[in-house]
Symmetry: C2
Amino acid sequence: MLERFKVPIDEQVLVSEESLRRTVTEFFEKMGETPEDAAIAADTLVTSDLRGVESHGVSNMLRAYHHQYKNKDINAKANWKIVREKPGTANINADRGLVIIIGRHAMQIAIDKAKQVGIGAVSVYNSGHSGAIGHHAMQAVQNDMIGLVTTAAGTQVVPTFSSIGLLGTNPIALAAPARNEVPFLYDAATCSVAGNKIELARRIGSKLEPGWIADSDGVPIMEPVHVPEYAEGIPVHILPLGGTREQGSHKGYGLAMITEILGTLLAGSLPSMLASPGEEGFMHKHHFVAYDIEAFTDLDIFKDNMDRMLKMIRETKPAPGQESVIYSGMIEAEEEKERRANGIPLHTEVIEWFKTMTNEEEISDLEIS
Amino acid sequence: MLERFKVPIDEQVLVSEESLRRTVTEFFEKMGETPEDAAIAADTLVTSDLRGVESHGVSNMLRAYHHQYKNKDINAKANWKIVREKPGTANINADRGLVIIIGRHAMQIAIDKAKQVGIGAVSVYNSGHSGAIGHHAMQAVQNDMIGLVTTAAGTQVVPTFSSIGLLGTNPIALAAPARNEVPFLYDAATCSVAGNKIELARRIGSKLEPGWIADSDGVPIMEPVHVPEYAEGIPVHILPLGGTREQGSHKGYGLAMITEILGTLLAGSLPSMLASPGEEGFMHKHHFVAYDIEAFTDLDIFKDNMDRMLKMIRETKPAPGQESVIYSGMIEAEEEKERRANGIPLHTEVIEWFKTMTNEEEISDLEIS
C-alpha cells in the first residue's frame, strides 16, 4: 500500500488480534451466522487487517456488512448449494450469503477436486462480498497447492472509450507456496485502484493519482485530484489498469472482462451492468481454482524453484532511488508478523464506529490497550 | 493496434491468404516438419496476419523461426510427450518444438479433459514460440468452450523498482464464445507493450509511448522516445503494464509472475531469469486451460448472456472525442473479413525477405497481385 494510505500515527489506536477477533466473531453471530461460520468470517477480515490490507479489513467492510444484513441484501442463513458438478468443477448458488464465509467452503471443494483430478474450479454466484480474495487463494497454499481466485461485481469501472462505468473493480488473486521464502501472493483489482482505496482516500483526505479515475463523462483525469464533486454519494468512475488507451487501459479493461466471464457468465449469471439492485445479477460472483502441484511435477522441485526465483528477485539490484525489489506478498507477510506481536492500528473514527455498533448490538466492544 | 503501427499504404504490398499459406507451409516442410504440422504452423501464423495481429504474423516470426531452425535452437522433429497426467491435467515436455504447432495438440488435450471432468489444464515446457496465444484460446471457442492460454519466456520486462529485466512479456489470452456477437478474444502481454511491437516501431521508425520502457538503469522513461541507443542489438527494457508504481506497474509485474508460475514453475521448469541460452529453462513455457461451459451452466444461457453483455458494451455511449466502445476481438474479426477478401498487407521489406528466403530454400515465393 502507498504510504499515503496508511492510517496516520496520531489518528490510530492499537487493538490486539485477539480482541478484534472476539468482537468481530460476536458481530457475525449476532447477525445470525452459526458460531463456526462467524469464526470463519472473522478470520477472513482480521487476517486482512493483520496483513496490512486495511482496504478489505474491518474498517470498511464491517459497517458495509452491518448495513447489508439489516437491509436483507445479504443472508445470514444462506442455504448455499452446488447446482451443477463434474469431477473437476462445481457451480454454487450462494443464496445471498457472504463469501468471506462461503469462500472457505468453495476453495475446499476446489482443493478436494484437485486432489482427485489435478485441478478444481468452482464458480460462486448470487453471493455477497468475499473480503480480500487473496485470503482464499492462500487456503490452497496451506494445502501445498496453487490457488487462483477472481471476483466480478459492480459497474464502477469505465471501459476504455466508454462514457459510463460497466464493470467492477474485478480483482484477480493467485497464491503459490515456496519452501523458505514467503509465499507469492498476488491480489489486485484489474483497475487502476481498488474501490476501497478511494473510500480510504475520502476518509483520510488524500489525493488520487493521475490515471486512476475519469471525470463524469468518462474522460481520464491525468492530474492528482481529490475525490471529485460528481462522486458525492455515488461511486466515482474508476479507470481500468493502464489508465489511458496509450498506457494500456484496454488491457486492464480486458482483464476485468475475463473475471466477469469466469465468475459471472460461466456461472450462468448476468453481469452487474445488466442487473438492478435486488436482482441475482446484481450480487457478487467469484471463481475459485486450486492446482495440485503434484499433478504436474514434484512438490519439492516446485518449492525449490520458487525459492530460487523469489530469492533472485529480492536480491536484484534496485533501480536508482529505490530501496529494494519486492514481490507480491512480501510486505504483507512482514506486516503480519509485526501486527500479531504489537496489535492492529485502527483509525479513531473506526474505533468510534465500533463503540456505537457494539452498544447497539449488545456485544463486547474492542479492548483498547 | 494503434494506427501508428499499421504498415503505411505506400510501403505495403497485398498478398492473398492462399498464396501466403502455400509459401509458409512449404517453408515449414522444408525446415523438416511433417506436412500436417507444417499446415498447422502456417495456419497459426497466417490467421494472425488475417486478424491484423502483424506483431505475431509472418513478418516478425518467420525470419525468427528460420534463424532458430538453422541454429538448432528449435527442433523440427520434436518428440513431444506427456510426462505426467491426471484426468484434468497434463504436463508436456515439448522437446524444443514450436508451440505454433504443439499448441494445437496441447489445447486439444485440454479440451478432451474438459469434456470428461469439466476443465482441462495443460502445461508445456522446453518449447519454442507459440505465435499469438489467442489463436490457441480460440480453438476452445470452436468447441463451445472457454479457452485460456498464458506464456512465459525471456527477461525483457523490468519488475517494479528493479534495475534489470527478469521477466518475459508473459501474455495472457482468454477466448469465450457468443451467439450472434463476435467472440470475446483477449490476448495481451502483461507489460506495457508487446516485445514484437518494439520491433515494429524500430522498423517503421515510430516513437514509443511514455511509460512503455525503462532507461538502461531500469528507471521508467516518461516521454515519447525512439528505441534508445542502449538497446542497439540487445532487448530494450520493457515496463510492466501500468508503467510506474503510482500507475499500478506492480500489478502488471504480478500478472507476469502469475504466467511464470502457471507456465514455468508448475511444469517443474526454471524461469528464464535462472537459465542460460541452450538450457531447458531458457525455452518458452505455456499453460493451456479449457473450460467446458456445460459443466457449469447451459450453453444456451451462457451464449445469450454473452450476447447481451457484448451488445450492451458496443452500444454504450462513448466518452467525448471517442467514436465507439469496443471489446477485445471486435476489430480483429472485422479485419479478418476484410483481409480474407482483399489480401494481407505486407511491408515491402518483408516481401524482399521472402524473395531471398524462398530463393535460398528453393520453395515457392509469394504471388504478388
